[in-house]
């Protein structure tokens, strides 16, 4: 698991993360929710090892984050960021193949082609395969970047591996209704295979449908964290987002959130 312990991060004089602790567990989808500016993307960059906290620490499977070099990290976790720009004419296939970069000449590199094709299929981008990335729409680009992240953490089925993690920063922001579901179903499936998934989401209903655990972040602090049924309550959501929220229980027992 990846564990954040009492993280403090300052930007100038402002404390943007103020004593945050929570855990991303293998086999579970953790949704990170909260209003704009709560510090969600910052938490992703702390979990990915891109930023070092000013106080507290992040541990991966009990080892301090600082002990890993970027390459070792890249073999354990993949990250999908909010904004990516590319000014060069890579094809979709080439962008997805970049996900295999951390495996260079290792034994896992033998699986490169299969990893890319599987990732492409799961992200529903086969039809875009030979297109130039620059000519894609925003949503298509997001799906391609997701496929790149999938290719990075893909491993051959039955073998046992060190734990793997997938960190997603608003992965569905540009996606249509169907592809939001397709993407989160892929993430869900990976979690069922043992991957630890952390996803920043704005759509509360997607969190309700696909997450196991939910962390509500507000002003750089964890407001509530725990199983989704305990966290996604009318009271928690209304106070955190400062807007009235209603929760409806559907016939199958799942919930729908109206805001």
């Amino acid at each position: 698991m990846i564990e954040a312990k009492d993280i403090v991060l300052r930007m100038g004089t402002r404390q943007i993360i103020d004593g945050v602790s929570f855990t991303v567990r293998p086999g579970r989808v953790t949704a990170l929710l909260g209003p704009n500016g709560a510090g969600k993307s910052t938490m992703i960059s702390l979990f990915s090892g891109e930023r070092r906290p000013d106080g507290g620490g992040v541990e991966i499977d009990g080892e301090k984050m600082e002990r890993f070099d970027p390459l070792a990290l890249a073999r354990r976790r993949a990250v999908l960021l909010q904004h990516s720009s590319l000014d060069f004419d890579f094809t979709v296939a080439e962008v997805v193949a970049l996900g295999r970069l951390p495996f260079g000449t290792t034994r896992d590199a033998l699986d490169d082609e299969e990893a890319c094709l599987t990732a492409g299929r799961q992200s529903g981008i086969e039809a875009l395969w030979s297109r130039l990335y620059r000519t894609l729409s925003g949503g298509e680009r997001q799906r391609v970047q997701f496929a790149r992240a999938l290719a990075q953490i893909w491993r051959r089925g039955s073998e046992t591996h060190a734990s793997r993690y997938l960190l997603l920063d608003e992965p569905t922001s540009a996606l249509d209704l169907r592809h939001r579901r397709v993407l989160l179903e892929s993430a869900r499936r990976l979690a069922d295979e043992g991957v630890g998934v952390l996803a920043v989401l704005h759509d509360l209903n997607l969190a309700a449908d696909y997450a196991d655990d939910v962390v509500l972040l507000d002003h750089g602090r964890v407001r509530v964290a725990g199983g989704k049924d305990d966290v996604l309550t009318q009271e928690n959501l209304s106070t955190c987002f400062m807007t009235p929220v209603e929760i409806m229980r559907k016939a199958d027992g799942s919930i729908a959130i109206l805001a």
């Binding site: 990250v79 960021l81 990516s84 590319l86 004419d89 080439e94 970049l98 970069l101 951390p102 297109r131």
Partner: protein
């Protein structure tokens, strides 16, 4: 995949037109070899290809041809290969590092600093020569230009450096500032120079491979070769950099180390090139573009391809420089600028059409 090509008429074609890596690099290497041999034959006194081969293999029948080839054309062609290859691969790597296909080695201060070094020696060198051994005389200018280029790059990098991170945007602005400062000091030197010095400065800034000779080759070769070898190892990480610095980090690239390596290598290659040949513009911008147009942006092709094509194109430009106004000679920097600047403009306009 076929289905995609049929249903999608907008973009499938450019990728399908890409040449495979081995074919492109093989063709470029063969092209470079051919151009190299031609360059040895072309000139005020044309030498037939058969005689060129005989001289190279060591059993010349014409001693005059042998003297011209071994004493003049061979070092000059070798210098063109080193300078063109160094400028080409450095431009390609810097464009990847800055994620900007229109970036130029001049951006990080190399050429401005080198020019300042050269101009200082041209104008003030006589003060130094008085105290230095005579042997140092002819190396003074290239060494000063080389050190000037390195110093300017180092200053640019330091300015953009903060808490272990080099901010790429600030790097570009710092490069502009350093270039402007070098230009200002150069202006003062030029203002205080006499007519002969002024003429020498003017010709130096237009670039030439005529003066380098074998000493130019031995001065620049170690740096250019070292830089090429360093840059070739950066191909895969530079591919990741095209997605963005954060993405590259997440893909396992030590981003700050990569920046340092690419900048040092580019400063060595471009600094050494400028030192022996003066300022030769546009090779570093245009050459990587041509390779990308043929083979896509993969640095595993673009880096070696730019080295090979840069060398070949500079050889051709130098032949042009020697032949166009024969028996006089045109500065090669003029030739590359005359061809390169309209091409650069065309690239900009083309991007405007695509990017909008």
């Amino acid at each position: 995949m076929d289905e995609a090509a049929v249903t999608d008429t907008t973009a499938a074609l450019p990728s399908l037109r890409r040449l495979p890596r081995a074919a492109l690099l093989g063709a470029l290497a063969a092209f470079l070899g051919l151009v190299f041999l031609l360059a040895l034959g072309i000139g005020a006194m044309p030498i037939p290809a058969r005689e060129v081969m005989r001289v190279l293999l060591g059993f010349a029948t014409d001693s005059q041809a042998e003297a011209i080839i071994l004493g003049l054309r061979l070092p000059r062609a070798t210098l063109a290969v080193l300078v063109g290859g160094g400028l080409g691969i450095s431009g390609a790597a810097l464009q990847g590092l800055f994620r900007n296909p229109l970036a130029d080695p001049g951006l990080i201060g190399i050429s401005g600093g080198a020019a300042l070094g050269a101009v200082s020696i041209i104008v003030l060198g006589h003060l130094l020569i008085a105290v230095l051994p005579i042997a140092a005389d002819q190396h003074l200018l290239p060494v000063a230009a080389f050190l000037g280029g390195l110093a300017a790059t180092f200053a640019t990098e330091r300015l953009a450096h903060h808490r272990g991170i080099t901010a790429t945007g600030i790097l570009l602005l710092a490069g502009i500032a350093i270039n402007a400062m070098a230009g200002a000091v150069m202006g003062v030197l030029i203002y205080s120079s006499d007519d002969a010095q002024l003429r020498e400065i003017t010709f130096w800034t237009m670039g030439s491979l005529a003066k380098g000779g074998w000493s130019g080759v031995t001065l620049s070769a170690p740096f250019v070769i070292f830089a090429v070898l360093m840059l070739m190892r950066c191909a895969a990480p530079l591919n990741a950099m095209l997605l963005g610095e954060r993405e590259a980090h997440n893909l396992g690239v030590s981003v700050e180390r990569l920046k340092r390596i690419v900048m040092i290598a580019a400063a060595l290659a471009v600094g050494a090139s400028v030192a022996v040949s003066g300022i030769i513009a546009f090779v570093g911008v245009v050459v990587p573009h041509l390779v990308r147009m043929a083979a896509g942006p993969d640095h595993r092709i673009v880096l070696p391809g730019s080295a090979l094509l840069g060398a070949a194109l500079l050889l051709i430009a130098d032949c042009g420089a020697r032949v166009i106004v024969a028996p006089a000679e045109m500065p090669i920097g003029l030739v590359t600028s005359l061809i390169g600047s309209p091409f650069f403009l065309w690239l900009l306009l083309r991007r405007k059409g695509v990017g909008a």
